[in-house]
């Protein structure tokens, strides 16, 4: 039983885990390697996702916002070009790992 006002050992452990790992249950594997996945994006989005020419920067953005954007990009919308074709190739764990990585890069 978690008492209000006092962090549980569970929360302390969660906070101390390295980037890219989420403790969702004892049998769940960690998230995929966000940095390794993200490197595929750098030749357009810039090194570390810091932006490249006309392609938007991703570095340092809010993780949840990035994650929602990437999930939404799996479906084409007016004005979209290549991103729906790419994002549908990633599962939700991979998208979470990508968002977690880019959110942690200093812009």
């Amino acid at each position: 039983m978690i008492k209000p006002g006092k962090p549980s050992i569970f929360i302390v452990m969660l906070l101390s885990l390295p980037c890219g790992m989420v403790l969702a249950g004892p049998v769940q594997p960690p998230l995929p390697d966000g940095k390794a996945l993200a490197e595929a994006c750098f030749s357009c989005h810039g090194e570390g996702g810091r932006g490249g020419g006309r392609i938007p920067a991703l570095a340092g953005q809010d993780m949840t916002g990035l994650q929602q954007k990437m999930l939404a990009l799996r479906s084409p919308s007016p004005g979209s070009t290549i991103m729906p074709r790419l994002m549908r190739g990633y599962d939700t764990d991979e998208i979470a790992a990508l968002a977690d990585y880019f959110a942690g890069v200093s812009p």
Binding site: S43, C44, R54, T81, I82, R85, L86, R88
Partner: protein, 418 residues
């Protein structure tokens, strides 16, 4: 150190488990052959690691990129746009050796240079690109390529073809010969046809392009044909492989180009020969007799010789096309694998991307965009449907894709050479 450089180093440091390398005491020697999109990427990434010594062997002082070389032919931009020196790689800590490599001994991981020098590495990364199969087309040779350029390795060949197009009189016939696959840059010949057509329409509108193609179907075919019908009606005629389109013989003296069915006389002929992995690799047996070099799908290490990684156009890795985008992604995966191995870890695969933009006019672009996954045997395409820009896309979409193409080119070349 500029911001881009710092960012590049930070990218790598995130993935590096340094302690085991530090324990090793002496810096491991990484030899990289070729400063194109594969070799320059891996050299620049690994040069930021203090525990490694990186030597890059490159024949040319100036790299001319194949991406965007069709824009030079079409008069969209000058040669300078695709020319890059290697000064920044040297500044980044890469030891540059400007020399022709003449032989590789996979057993000892050593490489011989034209002056007799021999270099030995702990790890080798080979990214020398392609060689032409000159014998496949009668009358074609490195010598006749001065009159009948391939322009499939950018640089002087690009200039020759451009000069011939500029010198041609209005009403001339341009013949483009396309080989059977696999070849470097699957949509490249068709982008080239488009941008030559753009130049002719603007400057020599009575001229025609005859495409003699060993292939029946080709990359992004419906999109190219849609663009040709709308931008260049009546200018381009294509003979596919099933109608004996393959070029069989060339007479550089008379400019007579022969297929199995017909002969034509060209004002300008751009004949692209069939291709295989660079000869230095096949001579060393790294292709295992296949013409292309088999590699594993995580770190692109040779199936023939451990400790030797082969990247880009020369590699037989599975489904990824022979493109600059692919070579760059493979090089990043290779750098991660080398660092993991040196740190005593098993390399882990991650999904890869390929995006190939094609321009059919300055503001008319489209693309193929794919996700790939390292499987147990090969790199596999994740989704086989809906890979390209839709047919009937708006002018705004085509203009945006052209803009993104230019942005990608400027970003990737600044990461490697800037």
């Amino acid at each position: 150190m500029n911001t881009g450089r710092r960012a590049f180093l930070a990218t790598l440091a995130g993935g590096l488990a340094a302690p085991a390398l530090l324990r090793a005491g002496t810096a491991a020697h990484v030899i990289v052959l070729g400063a194109g999109f594969g070799g320059a990427t891996v050299a620049r990434l690994l040069a930021g690691v203090p525990e490694l010594r990186v030597t890059l062997i490159e024949r040319d002082a100036t790299i001319h990129t194949c991406p965007f070389s069709n824009g030079v032919l079409g008069g969209l931009w000058p040669m300078e746009r695709i020319a890059f020196d290697l000064v920044a790689l040297g500044r980044a800590g890469v030891r540059l050796i400007r020399a022709e490599a003449t032989g590789i001994d996979p057993e000892t991981r050593s490489i011989s240079l034209a002056d007799g020098t021999r270099l030995t590495g702990d790890v080798m990364v080979l990214a020398p690109g392609i060689s032409f199969d000159w014998a496949a087309i009668e009358g074609l040779s490195p010598a006749t390529a001065e009159q009948v350029p391939h322009a499939w390795k950018a640089g002087r060949q690009t200039e020759i073809l451009r000069e011939q197009l500029v010198a041609m009189e209005d009403g001339g016939l341009v013949v483009v010969g396309i080989p059977a696959p696999p070849f470097r840059c699957p949509p490249g010949p068709y982008e080239r046809i488009s941008l030559i057509a753009h130049y002719l329409k603007t400057n020599k509108p009575a001229s025609k392009i005859l495409v003699l193609d060993a292939q029946d179907a080709f990359s992004k075919q419906p999109l190219f044909e849609e663009a040709w019908a709308s931008l260049y009606p009546g200018m381009i005629e294509r003979v596919p492989g099933s109608a004996s389109g393959a070029v069989m013989a060339v007479d550089a003296g008379t400019m007579r180009i022969s297929t199995g069915f017909d002969d034509v006389t060209a004002a300008v002929a751009n004949i692209i020969p069939p291709q295989r992995a660079a000869r230095i690799l096949t001579d060393a047996g790294l292709d295992d007799g296949l013409g292309w070099c088999p590699v594993e799908p995580v770190g692109f290490e040779s199936r023939v010789a451990p400790g030797i990684h082969i990247l880009g156009d020369a590699a037989l890795q599975g489904d990824m096309p022979k493109s600059a985008f692919s070579a760059n992604g493979q090089a990043r995966a290779c750098a991660r694998a080398i660092l993991a191995r040196l740190a005593g870890h098993e390399p882990q695969g991650a999904k890869l991307l390929n995006v190939c933009y094609s321009l059919t006019a300055p503001d008319y672009g489209f693309s193929i965009a794919d996700v790939y996954e390292p499987g147990p045997e090969k790199v596999s395409l994740v989704l086989s449907e809906g890979r390209t820009t839709a047919l009937g896309a708006s002018a705004e979409t085509h203009a945006a894709e052209a803009e993104y193409a230019r942005s990608w080119f400027d970003t990737i070349t600044s990461q490697l050479y800037g």
